[in-house]
């Protein structure tokens, strides 16, 4: 049976198994279909009922003495008369008549002994509002102004409502007096207000949905993933079926992928049902006006789009849940592990749901956060550039892949299969570890996945605002790159007793492979440039890419040439090769086929260069570098290629003369960067590149037939 066949068998069985479970059905169907509408109807009704009842409630107003009581009574009476007169002039069915405020004549006025007593009563919420005047009489002449202190606890709904009603009373009194005074003097209303302000609200009708819904749906998707993830991993162990599964001739990765797909399916189905239920409740429950801020309709088309956006999120969450639950040996243990994970997910999710957070900077690659933001931006009607969507999807896929690999590394591990065979901490106890020639797939992917947002953060933190600080970014990178790309992986390898020399391929290659590295390094820029130009003509170049390239060029010209080459060619060549072609490719190669490992490592290498625009070219170079490394069983030819390639790029900025010698346009023309190279240059470049690859095509040592997974220790048998 082939690989996809086996996964399909596992998928079908697990899906049947999980759907026959009453608990899944309750969590997936009953909760969204019954509970959601109930909760929503209940809470919306409670809120509107409370709101109405506060408005209808007889008002109680506190005053500090008898004089003030008389003053308040007079104001209320005058207001009542005016309101009645106004009402008489209006059609009782008109909106204006319906919108008239309720008079306060049913208000009870309570007299307190002193201002202090009154304020204490308000603080103790014994009375919602207190009115204090400066002076003992109401306004009686045009020269006099009386200050009215409205005391209320504005943090409390009752206090706010009462305070507003009193403020409204004063406001209406003011308007009435102004009108009378203007009328007396025969002046128009514009005398007082030469300008009036009218705000025009252009927010999308679904703004409340846009702010809240992504977070709710994310919670529901997580909830949907939890139960099947636990049931299919820890449940397997707890019911004693894991041992018989593990003695089947099926690779663990197939089992995990099958299970992971089931969890994703259930999570997406759950999210879809939730979404449908929300939509139906809002639509048929008549709540669209309550929820949509300007009385709009339910955006059904957008709901479908959100569902699509939820799928990558469900994929990531399912992968994380499977990885976490694989570590657990019982349901209970799994539930304990899941709780902190949910909290950890809610933090970036919550930050993303904040109104001011935008899809930019670190948020583009923030796990979970970027998906919430994407859904929010789309729902709010913001225009999201396609490259941002790609960035979000690429990084999410990368994280999900790493999580699945980790799950496969953990699931079926001895210490997890046999609870009686030593404690869990045994799997971290160094003395129980066996030396291994290369890191596992899960170790290499997990470390790289954790490095990714860290590196992105470092790069944006160092990113200069001013040109003079741009060199600072280079120096900062010079310190941090060796630390994160080399020292950290080496530390991890040493702790887990992995052979550092073999992992990094630190061996002297054949002369043929040295030459291959040099030739590829010298020539790859020409086809790479053509690829860039081709891509530019199809997709266009984002302004940010152009600006950052220009800024980098400026900085490079300021640096001494030797420093520029050291920082921008040699350093990345050494550090990036050690991380991507050493640590990552070795790990992937430990249980993946040759080309799958090379392409996967190259894709990660591409993702690490952040600009989606450069992804294709970087990943393409990554494939070539990985191939060189695999064929020569040494990291050094790839380092040579990388260093030479970067140096060629630098020289085109520092010493542009050589470009003219070979007939390439001067870079004085800003468009030149996106122009095709002369055909002979492209042909020669491609020929040299192919020659280099041909030299590399003969492997260093005899190895198992091509295409076999390399389960033998080390890349070579030296």
């Amino acid at each position: 049976m082939t690989f996809p066949h086996r996964i399909r068998t596992i998928y079908v069985k697990e899906l049947i198994d999980i759907l026959r479970d009453r608990r899944t059905l309750i969590a997936m169907i009953v909760v969204p279909i019954v509970l959601y509408p109930l909760l929503m109807l209940g809470s919306v009704q409670a809120v509107s009922y409370q709101h109405e009842s506060l408005e209808q409630e007889a008002l109680r107003i506190g005053v500090a003495d008898d004089a003030h009581r008389r003053m308040v009574t007079q104001l209320i009476h005058a207001d009542r008369v005016a309101l009645d007169e106004r009402k008489a002039t209006l059609d009782p069915e008109s909106d204006e008549a319906k919108g008239l405020p309720t008079p306060l004549d049913d208000a009870t006025i309570e007299v307190f002994d002193s201002l202090a007593d009154l304020q204490r009563a308000i603080r103790e919420r014994a009375i919602p509002v207190g009115v204090v005047f400066d002076g003992e009489t109401l306004v009686d002449s045009i020269e006099r102004q009386v200050k009215v202190h409205v005391n209320a606890d504005y943090e409390e709904p009752r206090g706010t409502s009462a305070g507003r009603r009193v403020e409204g009373l004063i406001q209406r009194t003011n308007e009435r007096l102004q009108e009378a005074r203007l009328h007396e003097r025969g002046l128009p209303k514009s005398f007082l207000e030469p300008y009036t302000v009218e705000t025009v609200d252009l927010s999308a009708p679904s703004s409340v949905l846009g702010e809240v819904l992504p977070l709710i749906l994310i919670l529901m998707t997580i909830t949907g993933a939890i139960y099947p993830a636990i049931d299919l991993t820890a449940g397997e162990r707890e019911r004693g079926t894991l041992e018989s599964l593990m003695v089947c001739p099926v690779p663990v990765i197939d089992l995990i992928v099958g299970k992971f797909l089931v969890v994703t399916t259930v999570a997406v189905m759950g999210a879809a049902l939730n979404l449908a239920s929300v939509t139906a409740t809002v639509y048929f429950g008549g709540f669209d006006k309550v929820i949509a801020s300007t009385g709009g309709h339910v955006p059904i088309g957008k709901m479908l789009f959100i569902l699509l956006a939820l799928i990558p999120f469900a994929v990531l969450m399912s992968a994380i849940m499977i990885a976490v639950c694989s570590y657990a040996r019982t349901f209970k243990e799994a539930q304990n592990y899941v709780t902190p994970v949910i909290l950890a997910v809610l933090i970036p999710g919550g930050v993303a749901a904040l109104p001011a957070t935008r899809l930019e900077g670190i948020m583009l690659v923030m796990p979970v956060g970027n998906m919430v933001l994407l859904a929010k931006e789309l729902l709010l009607g913001a225009a999201v550039p396609p490259w941002q969507v790609v960035m979000v999807l690429l990084s999410t896929t990368f994280y999900a892949g790493a999580a699945v690999a980790v799950a496969a590394g953990i699931f079926g591990k001895e210490s997890v299969v046999f609870a009686d065979a030593g404690s869990l901490s045994g799997s971290f106890a160094r003395k129980m570890m066996k030396p291994s020639p290369r890191p596992s797939v899960s170790m290499s992917l997990l470390v790289t996945a954790l490095l990714f947002p860290t590196w992105f953060f470092v790069q944006s933190a160092l990113s200069p605002g001013l040109d003079e600080a741009a060199a600072g970014q280079l120096y900062g990178t010079a310190w941090l790159m060796p630390l994160l790309f080399v020292v950290l992986p080496v530390g991890i390898l040493l702790y887990w007793k992995v052979d550092v020399v073999r992992t990094f391929g630190l061996r002297v290659p054949r002369l043929r492979h040295w030459a291959a590295g040099a030739l590829v390094g010298l020539s790859a820029w020409a086809p790479a440039h053509e690829l860039n130009v081709l891509q530019e003509s199809v997709l266009g170049v984002p302004e940010t890419v152009v600006r950052s390239a220009e800024r980098l060029a400026e900085v490079v010209k300021l640096l001494p040439p030797a420093t520029a080459i050291l920082l921008l060619a040699l350093l990345p060549a050494v550090c990036e090769e050690l991380l991507f072609r050493g640590f990552l490719l070795s790990g992937l190669g430990s249980s993946m086929r040759k080309w799958a490992a090379i392409v996967a490592a190259a894709a990660v290498f591409g993702v690490f260069h952040f600009f989606v625009f450069r992804f294709a070219v970087t990943a393409g170079l990554g494939v070539i570098l990985g191939y060189l490394c695999w064929q020569s069983r040494s990291i050094l030819p790839a380092m040579v290629t990388h260093a030479v390639h970067n140096t060629v790029g630098l020289l085109s900025v520092i010493r542009p003369e050589w470009l003219r010698w070979i007939g390439v346009a001067d870079d004085a023309d800003p468009q030149a960067e996106w122009a095709h190279l002369p055909l002979p240059v492209v042909l020669v470049g491609s020929a040299v590149l192919l020659l280099g690859l041909y030299l590399a095509s003969r492997p260093a040592d005899p190895q198992p037939a091509a295409g076999n997974s390399l389960s033998l220790p080390g890349r070579g048998s030296e």
Binding site: T9, D21, L245, P249, V417, A421, G422
Partner: protein, 254 residues
């Protein structure tokens, strides 16, 4: 031909105080084709750990084991293809029927759907599962479950069977069905490793017996040579004598 070879197997587990405990300590034995090898020993002797190492579920701390010539440490997938493994406390998928479960495992053993169904029906007939093959495993009795479990272990018709306490807690009828089935498989040329607490069962079933105590093999041979070695007749007495447990307490019933 030797189908199972264990050579100086050691399995050490970390203890909470930072030390290590050897559950299996330098165990070597060989089993020829068509033989039933009985692994006997008190609780904690290391029987289950040994069987788990043979099946590739646990990596030996040191030493090697091969099944049909495949090394359990370096060729786990090949080992799994020649092995049927019945664990002591195996669970079944509660929400699948016995038939669905057998078909699923047959498919995991690389059969296509039609082959898997045919093999499942064959085993259902041989082990007398017909009456409850359509029921979900969660609803089966202990004896019925164990029959399904044995069918599951045999689904790929492997040349080597490893059975950990196959008759634990069964009624007389199920016990009979299972023991007859094991004999039948032996006659068909299968190599079988059996671990059991029931000494009379071992007496009647096993060609070779290995007595395991504290992770070491204290004696090995057929029943006759063990009788000679110990001077006792019944296996239970032989057993107690050889592990020097015959003095403090009287002979324990088998």
């Amino acid at each position: 031909m030797e189908m199972v070879v264990a050579d100086s197997l050691v399995k050490a587990f970390p203890t909470p105080d930072g030390g290590e405990k050897r559950a299996v300590d330098g165990l070597s034995f060989r089993v020829g084709q068509g033989q039933i090898y009985g692994l006997l020993g008190p609780n904690g002797a290391g029987k289950t750990t040994t069987l788990r190492m043979l099946s590739g579920l646990m990596a030996p701390t040191s030493g090697t084991a091969t099944l049909a010539g495949f090394d359990v440490a370096t060729q786990p997938q090949e080992v799994k293809r020649v092995l049927g493994f019945l664990t002591a406390n195996t669970g079944l998928y509660q929400r699948l029927s016995a038939r669905e479960l057998l078909i699923y495992f047959a498919q995991l053993h690389r059969m296509d759907r039609a082959q898997a169904e045919a093999r499942a029906e064959q085993l259902i007939a041989w082990l007398g599962i017909e009456d409850f093959a359509h029921l979900r495993c969660g609803a089966l009795s202990t004896g019925q479950k164990q029959r399904v479990n044995i069918a599951r272990a045999l689904v790929a018709d492997p040349p080597i069977l490893v059975m950990d306490e196959p008759t634990l807690g069964l009624d007389v009828l199920s016990n009979r069905v299972i023991l007859d089935f094991i004999k039948r498989e032996r006659h068909a040329g299968k190599t079988i490793i059996l671990s059991t607490h029931y000494l009379d069962e071992a007496e009647t079933m096993c060609d070779q017996i290995g007595l395991l105590h504290d992770g070491r093999l204290v004696a090995e041979g057929d029943l006759e040579s063990l009788r000679e070695l110990s001077g006792e007749h019944r296996l239970s007495s032989i057993f107690l004598k050889l592990i020097h447990a015959d003095r403090p307490i009287g002979a324990a019933g088998a």
